[in-house]
Subunit: 256 residues, 8 copies
């Protein structure tokens, strides 16, 4: 990476010993908890701190990792699929942590307050809200202004059509839809901005826990869209923010 | 079935011997070719002659079965997925047979000419025409007036919206769509008539040879629709005619 | 749509301002609850009010949406997959709401009482009753007379054959079947009316939670049938009523 | 196995050296061609010679294996999925070999002529004949009398019902069916004999190259049946003969 | 069916009125409980009473159907996948009913005591016992003598090999196996009797709840076997008894 | 849409008759060829002309649609999955059409020459080039500067690592990968720009014609990425250009 | 097997009677508990005692089998997927049994203490620990020295790269990874030792309970790796030990 | 990696300039052909040159890459799935290249001749030879002594049992099997060496082009085995050699 040259120049000039250089090249920005290795370099490398996926971890593990990230203070901190129990544990050491029950997410605000551009989150039905809110919260915590238009599935197309002008004004659009997920194609056909499809597991039988809208969105007859995993509001919000940030214009590559 | 009573009364009155009655009950309307048993009772029972699915049969077999049905003359005769070779063989014995190359179908006109109500056939894209034409031909051969609106996929929604009035005036609507098949949901949401979805195998990758639009149509968020097999234009046209016929009003059950 | 002309003529004549016309074109018949946008235009457009799929919504959300639809009073109101808790909440504001525990559905009667034509509901086994009753209730609430013939699976074919005359007299037949779903093909082969197959998730192992009868019904060797999603009694009942209504004869398109 | 005692007694008595006994225990009835090990012990162990599945082998390999088995002369010899080219090669060394083009099988008659009991082969449609004939030929070559009833799919149920008496008189019934494969359940429900279902790949789309009838037959609501692989007429015929042979009454276990 | 002739002769001779004959032809042996139609003709037609699959039925429904079958007394009565609650309800009216907790089955003994031939039940592992016992109980209740060899999976092949002689002496062999189900192929290769494979859902991950051994058994390289649904011990036991009964020799078709 | 207000104001002011307004609202920008409806409004609505997917269309149909779009001259014209035969037909009427054989695409240059920002296309292996080149061509034809880094699969990670600086300097990255598709996750973890994954069908067996890398990319442990259909280089290039265009800074919504 | 010669020589020399020899050949090292046949020969044949998979067995069954194996004392004893209840039962008769709660395993130490070579266990994330620990414990109980490097998923590649030297020093590497499982390919590309991939079910949606990383690992673009079942830490540890043992150099085949 | 220290020490000592060091760190051992980046570092890193998978590459591309690798001369060179056309092209510049038609592989011998330990390749049937020979050739070209035992499928178990002693004497065993793949479990249960399963696509219907044996091998009830992709003889041979090499005893990690 870019700074490897600097490290080598440090060695050349004698400013760095070989061992110091080795450490830096190997990324000493990793904090080792035994069961986890926190990647504190991620803010520099990717623009946002490691996000903690709490499912499959014990509440103790999740809370400790979140606390360490918050202590670092390099950016806002986000934990997804977090239980209330994890939140209670975390609050003891990080009293200003927030819990968002609909998307089941924990936020600790440590980064600069920003509200750039705008990310539009559409949801086909009321049942898709949990996922839509995860997308909206993620983009917002990362620094995007977020707008929401919910329950505009294709069964009542005019509900969507009357919002088209507003949708077209955002920089990037997230479409959250279960059942057959047709909303994504319809939206993408009406606008000229990138569309991120989030299939949800809402439905039954042939819906196959979200595989059907996922496959449908991937084979959409409308270009200009792409797809994230089923129920992955987080991934959609993260990507939407990245795209939104590009729209800030003077944005170059991070390390310049 | 209803006529069983009549057969039994024939036996009671002595008009029928037991063996004659047995034959009738067992359906002597079957013509046995060894490799096939032609079901001549089907016109009485279902309102239309047996339709011959020519795939997997030798041209000789298909041509002979079609010729036998034509000879019976009880209704129009239809052969689907028929090769030109089958048609050439058939024409020797049935000179007025017709071949329709786009849907690869053979027709022999033997029934009354009818053009009842109307069946609307929509196709999402130009690539779906082969299936759409199979549906249109089937309904037409059975006696329905058929209208076609092609290439109205959701990528350019206004192409569809300007035809909505016309679509709403038909009795039943067939929607033929490949890719993700979103057109079916959109159409069903705009009208108050039964919609029959025909997923097609047009597409690639995650389209899974038509499984994706098939699953999508089955999990549509819009009620009032149902689905037939992938690329099954024939099945859709057949069902559409049946529904269309109901709209003729005074229609009772066939054998009364 | 048709009335767009009227709106434009209203603008031309000065009866409507541009803003009023915009609202009407954009469908101000939508009622926005934040988490839901109730589509009050649906009765005009599709002949029946929006049906509320209660799964994935909170009881509070379901109850409020149902209450709003009932208040509008434009047609009967139906909530499917509704919990008893949702019903208890709804009853506070809509005391005449009914709960049907077998299909887990809520009904509020606000439309005209009708019992047109007839819809026949067949169920292959006793275990399929929940789905069959959802189909029957839906068609009935929409205005169809409904008949039921249950437990007539192909393991004991004579149970079905003795009911064939009665089945043939209905306008449209719903076949509800789990296991391999063979009943649908057998029924469709015996009658001349549209058949709607409803695969159920009754079975285990290779039954794949209903995928097996769903695929089997879609590939039926008998034309004249189509298929709805697994366990989707509601969709079958809705479509059956639409088809049944066509049989009322003088029925034209809704807005004429 | 049973004869191990005999071998051991041979060693004990000095009739067999240890090395001879080892050879016998290890099955010196194997003939090694390098690319194949012909299992000449199979007649003793299973009652019929090894059957050669010719697909995936070169014609030379298939022909040589068949010739070796024929030379042994212990029972009839069967090669399935054999090309005409394989047959031409074989005929040079085995002039009395027969080729059956519909099931694409080679037979060399070396066993006793037998026609025990009876095996009934049903086929739902004309397109299923290739598989049905493979089943019929296999059972026949093994020594069963075979009867055939073809094109009796459930679309015209009376074609089947009139043959029920005849079907009931056989010892075991093979049902060959593509599409959704419903015929197997219907047949099994009408008789009191074992039914072997052979799903075929006839159909398209949701038929999934035979997976759909295979799954349907496995989840049949009618007990008394079991299933072999898609298009596996050979396997069905082989098993049917084994069952048929049990009906010969005095049949004990082979080596007694 | 065969007795149709007798009915017709009854009409011819005046012994039966037309209406009586119609009833008989239509199968008045059906007892209608509203939610179920008990098929009392099944003993005559198939040799054993309808077996009640209790899953998906309420305990009240299951218990009543079982009681009615027991009251008829035509053969032993079997209820599968039955809860203890169903059994408690049944015992009130049928005090001699038995509950078998491992296979979760209810038996009421009303038929003749028989122990014909023998059916061998093999299980690959201790975890497969529930399914193996369902197979063994079913065959036994129908009249077969049953032998069991359990925990002989291929991981320790010698456990199986030492039982081969005993296995070869039975008329038909059921192989119950989870994981990859290799035991069925190995057993079938060693004997000359029909083998019925029962894949079980024992395993995890790529075992796919039993689909993997099911597919493996269906594609076995060893002929002479066939497969029933995953965990379907009942179906295997039922079929095994049917086959075993054929071995009784003088057995003709049932109604002669 | 936005211009509806203008149309209405035209009617209000008398500039437009009602019929003229209806035509405009209904989108008279559609050109109807019978088998196709060319959506000339798409440039206005989406910023680029309709792209013609030539597979499944006859060469005559594809060539005519491309010629009509070229005649309109509103933007560059792109035909994907085009045969050389289609190109030969097109060249007769559009002599300056170009054929790109690796991605099998046709281009007619009619739009402004632009080379904005940059889109990076990575390919894991040499076998993925066809898809990578389709992506690169699409983005380029739409107006993006495109860079390529090919054959940097994870089997030799250092090939990728030495290009990371260059990759990080682009605005959006397309990763084309077959086999297991691991490259996408690795790339996304190293940069702070949006990543579009394109799974390819390169591989065999468990690769499932691209389903495996598609599923893998969708479940990537690295956020900031999304996925298009298997082998869909076109979709990736289209979306990448859209995102790249956002980076031009002052970009507002199109119709302002 | 090899010792068959010895047995035969025993018979030849008169040291063994035929019946004794039969018993030995048939493997009298099997201990029959009715529901289980303990394979005490396994230590001789495979180098380690039968491992007990406790899922699907009752705690009583598992505990008894483990106790019998421990009593034999031939090698360490391992029970996987064991409940605490099983452990409590076992401790009564085997007080020195150990319970490992993370991998849910029971160990009874009866074999020689060994710590040969080394097995490296990598885990992509904290959520994969349960499986990783099962692998580590298994290899360790069998006699391998085990090293662990956890939470080195590809999202932060430098966490892995800094451990490459250490990883390269082990004899065999187990990679435990959920999500898309890309870690296995990356690791295999960096080292020259056998890699065993263990896909885990950690993830959701398109991760398909582990099928996605399993398929991905199987289609890895990097040779030198192979795959065990989803979540099968035990299988990976077992195989890793076997491979590790080969590295002990003078190791010949067991029975020499 | 280890040599990074050396590079850094070179910089420190002035032996290397910063730019030279950067090149070395970034891996200048990559040779860039535009469409391919040849990884000449692979011999050092992994012990064997990059293997060229020729499918999906043009013959020109494959031949050039192979020629470059041969020119480097660092180890033997292997091209898999290579056409005769590729070989003809290659021979022009590399006259001593060999073509192996059964496994369709190209070999150029440039490494030291070795024949270490032994790798055993088993094939279940004659149809599996193409894959088995790819495995055998790969291991042999890498330096292993290879033994072959073919056509020992479980249908004739004694063919396998008589070879067990010989199999047990090898260091690692590859089992190549199509159909249901049961051979792998049986073999693994009999020996104490690592087993690598290679499922093949030999079979039809439920064999699912090899998915069925692949899933079966992954869920084998016998530990000590692992699985590579369907038909991936190359991957199995590569891994087998790696394991075999471990058995050479004094083998440490490569760079020491």
């Amino acid at each position: 990476m870019k700074s490897t040259r600097e490290i080598l120049e440090g060695v050349q000039s004698g400013r760095l010993s070989v061992d110091e250089a080795l450490d830096q090249i190997r990324g000493l920005t990793v904090e080792d908890l035994g069961y986890a290795r926190i990647d504190h370099d991620r803010v520099r490398r990717r623009g946002f701190a490691e996000v903690v996926y709490c499912e499959g971890k014990t509440p103790e593990q999740s809370a400790e990792i979140l606390a360490r990230l918050a202590a670092r203070g390099a950016s806002n901190v986000l934990g997804t699929r977090a239980s209330a129990e994890t939140f209670e544990l975390l609050k003891r050491s990080v009293p200003d942590a927030e819990y968002h029950p609909v998307p089941r997410a924990i936020v600790v605000r440590r980064g600069p307050e920003r509200q750039i551009g705008s990310v539009m989150v559409l949801a086909a039905g009321t049942s898709d809200l949990r996922v839509a809110e995860e997308a909206a919260l993620t983009a917002s915590v990362m620094g995007s202004r977020v707008e929401r238009v919910y329950d505009v599935g294709v069964a009542g197309l005019h509900r969507l059509l009357r919002e088209v002008d507003r949708i077209r004004k955002s920089r990037v659009v997230i479409v959250v839809a279960g059942m057959e997920g047709a909303l994504m194609s319809v939206v993408a056909g009406l606008i000229d901005k990138p569309v991120i499809g989030v299939p949800t597991s809402i439905g039954y039988g042939a819906q196959l826990h979200g595989l059907t809208p996922m496959l449908g969105m991937l084979t959409s007859c409308v270009p200009g869209s792409s797809v994230v995993n089923i129920d992955n509001g987080f991934g959609a919000g993260y990507l939407a923010h990245m795209i939104n940030e590009l729209g800030e214009g003077a944005h170059g590559h991070r390390e310049d």
